[in-house]
Amino acid sequence: MAPNGVNGVHHEDDEGIDYSDIENKYKVKFEEGFDNILLVDGVPIIDEAKRGKLLDKIAKEFGRKGAPIKTADISVPWNDTNGKSKGFVFIEFKNAIDAAFAQTAMDGHPFDSKHTFRVNRFTDIERYADMDETYVDPEPDEYKPKEHLRSWLGDSQGRDQYATYRGDEVEIHWHGKPSQCEVAFSRQNWTDLYISWSPLGTYIATLHRQGVQLWGGASWGKQHRFAHPMVKLIDFSPCENYIVTWSNDPIVVPEGAQQGPQFFSPEDEGHNIAVWDVKTGNLLRTFPTAYPEGEDVKKQLQWPALKWSPDDKYVARVTPGQQISVYELPSMGLQGKKSIKIEGVVDFEWCPQGDKDREEAEAEAKGKSTRKPRENMLAYWTPEVANQPARVTLMNFPSRTLLRQKNLFNVTECKLHWQNQGDFLCVKVDRHTKTKKSIFCNLEIFRVREKDFPVEVVELKDAVTDFSWEPRGERFALISSSDPNLANPAPGITVKTDVSFYQLVRGKGDFKLLRTLSTRTSNTVRWSPRGRHVVLATIGSSSKSELEFWDLDFNADDTGRREGPSKEEWGSGIQHLGTADHYGVTDVEWDPSGRYLATSASAWRHTLENGYAIWDFRGQELEKHILDRFKQFLWRPRPRTLLTKEQQRQIRRNLKEYSRQFDEEDAAEESNISAELIAHRKRLVDEWNAWRTRVKAEMAEEQNRLGKKVESEADKQGEEEKEEIELWVDEVIEQIEEEVVE
């Protein structure tokens, strides 16, 4: 009946509406073109006779990689002039998705020793064939100057910075003289887990669900990000060139995830550790977590899982009981193509680079040096296995020559402590008696700079709980305890400890006890980064929270480092400077200059009196902030000084002159501040007084309005005068004390 519309012949139906635009929009797109066709290059050139065999083989190879095809889908173009194939084939797939999968799976597939497949989409070939041959200059991006990453070092007042994390807020503070302290930057929800400085202070890292983000520059802009989902731990290499991240959740690469050098690829799936290049943000390599062998061993992660050589050239990881694998940077390939097989190896440490070594290495790099710089060195230890005694070994790297081995007996546990200049290695050996009932401690000290690496043994009767070298020094401090409670710690029990200082006797080459401070509760030693000053702290105790500040060179002149053994009596330079108390202290950290000490009570440990305090090296409190939900305090590290040795000496020599200049500044500022404060107070008082006068006037008016009698000042005075005064006199006239003798 209807002539049009029903059959859909004409779109202009009764109302004359044109639907073509809508139909265009919602039109189902058919697979058009040749997206499902792949072009495979690198196929052997064959005669007609071998055709069937070849097609079977190709189909088999594809099938093995999970992209099954039929021989009928392969079409082989022929060169009719010589009757041979052209060396490429077309393969048709069911759809574009299958084709894309086959392309990634088969591209670069070695067909036989001479032929490697190169697989491309047919459409791509066409596109590249049609490319415009004329070269067009790409538009250069506009140059945007970046902020200097070390701008904080240029602070005119020479202040240090520290970061605090409280509640959801991260703050960066300036720290200097009291008047110069201020908040430099703060941001809410800057991090999801915690914050961390890079070792030279260039970046601050924040941890998020998606990964790690680095920030830097004066306005704390985004620098780099490392997409490691659910990252929990991070570790920078010593020169800040690389970063290692770890997540408890194995890496998963979902379908359609972003690809590229900065992202995980399917090969990384199931791994936990990732190594990244900080400057480019590229992923270098991933590893699974290595746990110690054995069923009964508790699975405990060692962190850092990867240990960096001090020059960032190598990174090594230990497979407990088997080997140490060292990787070269930046390729992250296994150095020498094989790991160092060491039966039973438990732990190892790289030797740190001293200032001298660094200078030599730099000179070498510039080609100016005549001396060969010291090679990297690592120390490792193996426990007693079968008939072989426990052993500590020093090894050169990359030459892998063994420098020194020392056999040890009755070993329960070893800890390797390098002095930070790489001069000494102390191996703290926990030994057991034959019956394995009691534990005592030996210190095996290797003098690494001397010929043949002489070893000296310091025997101790007690168990050592903490050991620490003086930075750049020849002294160390250790905490030992014979307290029976040591083995079974319980809340509320404070273990009694002894703190001892040892020093190298020059010439003789052995370490001698300087002094023992007995019956303390201290469980932590913190040397100032400049040496000389040391803080003993009692951490993690609910009843004690003492901080003791000590100076080990009290008699020495400040202007120069003591050279050679002092003539004074042995150990007389040790002086107690002060004692302080920070209730509930959980962390103790020196600032990079060694002038200030920060202590904090973190809400991650307990919730009592969270906050932080800053002390000077004598133990005087400079500031203290009790802040709810305070979590983290971190000084911003400083990079090494750019001044040469000579320039530093110059400064030491002219110290008096410089200090006079600073004293003047201080004095000027002090008067300025007090004037400011007085003015501020005056203003507050004036405001208050003005308000009071106004209120009093209003009150009087109000009273008047209500028809009440206003008490005048005079009336009040009168009342006062009428006041009765009652005097209580209590006088002792005589006091007799009688003694009754029965």
Partner: protein, 334 residues
């Protein structure tokens, strides 16, 4: 001077109050007893016996003739200060949490708790001061029920017929005594329960303390916050020192968690803050439980604090307190 320790209560103190001359100190506690003491030597003058539950609150009139008290036995009582006799008792469905005299001693305001289906109520009674005081009217001259957050504190404001109230939500408000309308409020005066409210001598400003660890000074007329004193512990009481620009704050760890904390973490000190500069000036130790209530003598020569530990400590200021000018010669109006 050494503080005087008043050991007359067996349980924690709830409120202490000086009379107008500052020579008598009244104290009430959870042990049902009200005591009165000589402030100058700490001798106990007598007790007011009769309540059958925690005595939450007391107030004495300006002539030191009548004392009112409110208790958890659901009664409000009028006492003769001199004889210790109970002159009159009003009974309510729930406990009385706060009482206060009006400036001219003619009225008493009280708050009863919201409990067991009964609303929180504010009642104002006219007090007959003629005769021996036993002839009081049973019915309040006005009653109203503040809606919303529970009211915990009340006092007469700077003008008659205005009641100043503190609430559990941290709100401070002015109510019309006759109509019960909310005249003015500051919803966000505090972030937590308001624990104490004390007025300046001329009632033109007042101080509040709160569990949110701050104390604040407000103007009565506008309820604007003039000063804020931020501490690190929940506060139970705050008082204004007459004659000197100080405020006194007291508090400490919550009573229920006291047993798990040591003395030094408990922060059971009375803190002196500078009223104008909002800086802490000093602390006085002594209690071994939270400080529940603080009162300063109207003469400004001594103060007393009552603690969860059941003691009242009366401190007479030393000569140096009056002489000292820690902030120079700035003239500060009362």
């Amino acid at each position: 001077m050494r503080p005087i320790l008043l050991q007359g209560h067996e349980r924690s103190l709830t409120q202490i109050k000086f009379n107008r001359e500052g020579d008598l100190l009244f104290s009430c506690s959870k042990d049902h007893i009200i005591n009165v003491w000589f402030a100058h030597n700490g001798e106990r003058l007598g007790t007011y016996d009769g309540h059958n539950g925690t005595v939450w609150t007391i107030d004495v009139d300006s002539e030191s003739r009548f004392l009112v008290s409110g208790s958890a036995d659901n009664t409000l009582r009028l006492w003769s200060v001199q004889t210790g006799k109970c002159l009159y008792r009003w009974e309510f469905p729930t406990a009385v949490k706060r009482v206060a005299w009006s400036e001219d001693d003619s009225q008493v305001v009280c708050i009863t708790e919201q409990r067991m289906g009964y609303q929180c109520a504010v009642r104002i009674f006219d007090i007959d001061r003629e005769g021996d005081g036993t002839n009081q009217s049973k019915e309040p001259s006005s009653i109203f029920y503040p809606i919303g957050s529970k009211a915990t504190l009340c006092s007469f404001a700077h003008v008659p017929n205005l009641i100043l109230m503190g609430h559990e939500s941290g709100k401070v408000a002015l109510f019309d005594a006759k109509t019960g309308d909310e005249v003015l409020n500051n919803e966000r005066a505090h972030m937590d329960v308001v624990t104490d409210l004390q007025l300046s001598p001329d009632r033109s400003y007042f101080i509040t303390s709160s569990k949110d660890k701050t104390a604040r000074l407000h103007e009565t007329k506008t309820l604007t916050v003039l000063k804020t004193y931020t501490t690190e512990t929940p506060l139970n009481s705050a008082a204004i020192a007459p004659g000197k620009p100080y405020v006194l704050l007291g508090g400490g760890q919550d009573a229920m968690s006291v047993t798990t904390t040591s003395l030094r973490q408990g922060k059971f000190e009375t803190r002196f803050w500078h009223k104008i500069f909002e800086e802490e000036v000093g602390r006085v130790k002594g209690h071994f439980g939270p400080v529940n209530t603080i009162a300063v003598s109207p003469k400004g020569d001594c103060y007393a604090s009552g603690g969860e530990d059941g003691f009242v400590r009366v401190h007479h200021f030393d000569e140096s307190y009056f002489r000292a000018k820690p902030y120079g010669d700035l003239e500060i109006e009362e």
